[in-house]
């Protein structure tokens, strides 16, 4: 418009405006990717919990039968080798038991609601550690972000709201920094946000290549074919348990009446 009076921005002011916009956009992206990451991780945790309950515990049972067989064999034919094998089998069974019955196996099944997702995005946008201004701010943000991740994985919307309140309550007003100082701060924040973004990408890739993610993918493919991979796996391990049990009983009978 011809008649409008416009103040010409100084180069640093223009730069500051641009950088503010860039940071604003980055915040949104960062919050979204942070959500993707926590979502994927929680999906995997939930799947792993299901796997451990449905299949892992059966492996533990199988290993325990194997250990009993090995121990019986060591009693039937006493020798150092068999004794060592029996001990190794018992130790292995103990490990499998711990893995299959640990905390990870008790994760409840839950699907994050859209509200929870958007709440998490808000939290991430506000308190992301990579947007911090100074060391003490960083510390506070880091702690809150970790809490937010835990709350999300537990499906705990209330905690997410509290975290948001707590941060905003403590947020100090923007102190009167000069353009130069603000520009430097924003540039630094942008670079931190970018490096966090690339770290998130790396972590997502690593997660995608993890064994549990691959297993989950196999299960999804199986579902597409109308199958239930975990149930099928469980059945095949059950058959093996049955065979091991029979082997054990045959051996036990031999122990009862030696030839």
């Amino acid at each position: 418009m011809a008649g409008q009076i416009t103040r010409h921005l100084k180069p640093e002011e223009e730069e500051l405006l641009q950088k503010r916009e860039e940071l604003y956009a980055l915040r949104a992206t960062l919050a979204q990717r942070e959500l993707d990451l926590v979502d994927f991780r929680s999906e995997l945790s939930i799947f792993e919990g299901r796997y451990l309950r449905q299949v892992g515990r059966l492996y533990a049972e199988l290993d325990s039968w194997k250990a009993r067989i090995a121990e019986l064999q060591a009693r039937l034919h006493p020798s150092e080798t068999l004794k060592a094998e029996a001990e190794a089998a018992r130790e292995h069974a103990r490990q499998t038991y711990e893995e299959a019955h640990g905390k990870a196996s008790e994760l409840p099944d839950f699907t994050a609601s859209p509200e929870l997702k958007s709440l998490f995005r808000d939290v991430a946008k506000q308190i992301h550690p990579d947007l911090s201004k100074d060391a003490s701010d960083l510390e506070r943000r880091t702690r809150l972000m970790a809490e937010a991740n835990r709350a999300y994985e537990a499906g705990d919307a209330q905690s997410l709201r509290r975290i948001l309140d707590e941060y905003q309550g403590g947020a100090d007003a923007v102190e009167g920094e000069g353009i130069g100082a603000e520009l430097i701060r924003i540039i630094r924040q942008i670079s931190q946000a970018k490096s966090r973004l690339s770290a998130i990408e790396q972590e997502l890739t690593a997660l995608q290549q993890s064994e549990i993610a691959m297993l989950k993918k196999q299960a999804e493919e199986r579902e597409g074919q109308g199958g239930d991979l975990l149930a099928e796996l469980a059945n095949s391990v059950r058959e093996r348990i049955e065979r091991a049990r029979k082997d054990y009983e045959a051996l036990a009978a031999r122990e009862a009446k030696p030839a």
Binding site: E99, L107, M145, I212, Q218
Partner: protein
């Protein structure tokens, strides 16, 4: 410019219950290998028939008299002939005949003429393996893979398949087939080794080659390695023909590969083709030489 704000933070990472950094990953890997095999078996992607084969017991007359021939032809034998089957093979086995040992194992595997008993089958197979009977290596591999007679163990299954696939009973396999990828610019000794290895695989058991490929594809007992899976499935398919399921398996593996791996696979296929050409050339040469010497002897007699 770096300062204290550049700390790398992974929110929540260390609190996660995921298996990635724990010992629990062993339990996941185990399930994953079992799952891959399970899926493959449902799709019939493994060769599982423990074929009752061969009756090349030396005494041909005896073979026909006793029911070796009946086993071979899958003709049912009359009840009075039942005992002799086992008896006949047992006698041959006592004299160290590995095929007879294999046949007894196969009888127990299939419950043919005797009551099915995987443990007894396993015992007889192990005797035949001890005598270097190649096909038995394949059968023992199948039994390990499926936990029949032996405790299920993919790694051991892979070792047995490998012996049958390479046609080298007993010898520890040393050659890495992937060397063939680089045959175009490789040393003469590599080439000689590759060509020797290739010759052996041509006597190996195709079903074992195919199953070994399957274990590589599933990452069961061996680290997942599509290129190795491809090599073994290709070798099997080349022996058995394009129409069979070995070729289907080979192409399925190709489909799972990254672009770099596909490029490697193509190089590999070309190099294998060259090795085959060379070998056929050699066989032709030998045949020509044989024919010549026969002719010479015939004309000398005249």
């Amino acid at each position: 410019m770096r300062d204290e704000l550049q700390l790398q933070i992974v929110p929540g990472g260390s609190d996660s219950l995921l298996s990635l950094t724990t010992t629990r990953s062993g339990l996941i890997t185990r399930g994953r290998a079992d799952a891959a095999i399970l899926i493959a078996h449902n799709g019939d992607e493994f060769e599982a028939s423990l074929g009752v084969v061969l009756c090349d017991v030396d005494d041909i007359d005896a073979r026909d008299v006793y029911c070796g021939k009946a086993l071979l032809d899958e003709v049912s034998v009359s009840p009075e002939n039942k005992a002799p089957a086992l008896e006949f093979f047992r006698r041959a086995a006592d004299q160290g005949n590995a095929t007879a040992m294999f046949n007894i194992g196969a009888m127990y595997t299939h419950g043919r003429e005797v009551e099915q008993d995987y443990i007894k089958a396993a015992e007889w197979y192990l005797k035949a393996v001890h005598h270097g009977h190649l096909l038995t290596y394949f059968n023992v591999g199948v039994m390990y893979q499926n936990g029949l007679g032996f405790e299920q163990n993919y790694a051991v299954a892979a070792r047995f398949y490998r012996a049958a696939a390479e046609g080298t009973p007993g010898d520890p396999p040393l050659f890495d087939p992937k060397v063939i990828c680089r045959l175009d610019n490789t040393s003469a000794s590599d080439l000689a080794e590759a060509s020797e290895w290739f010759g052996r695989t041509q006597r190996g058991v195709p079903a074992a080659q195919f199953n070994l490929g399957g274990l590589y594809e599933a990452g069961a007992g061996v680290s997942r390695d599509y290129l190795s899976a491809y090599v073994w499935m290709k070798l099997a398919a080349d022996r058995v023909g394009e129409a069979g399921r070995y070729a289907v398996g080979r192409d399925r593996v190709l489909g799972k590969m990254s672009d770099t791996e596909v490029a490697q696979a193509e190089r590999l296929a070309k190099a294998l083709g060259k090795l085959a050409e060379k070998r056929n050339q050699k066989i032709d040469d030998v045949m020509t030489a044989l024919k010549r010497s026969l002719e010479a002897r015939r004309s000398a007699r005249r």
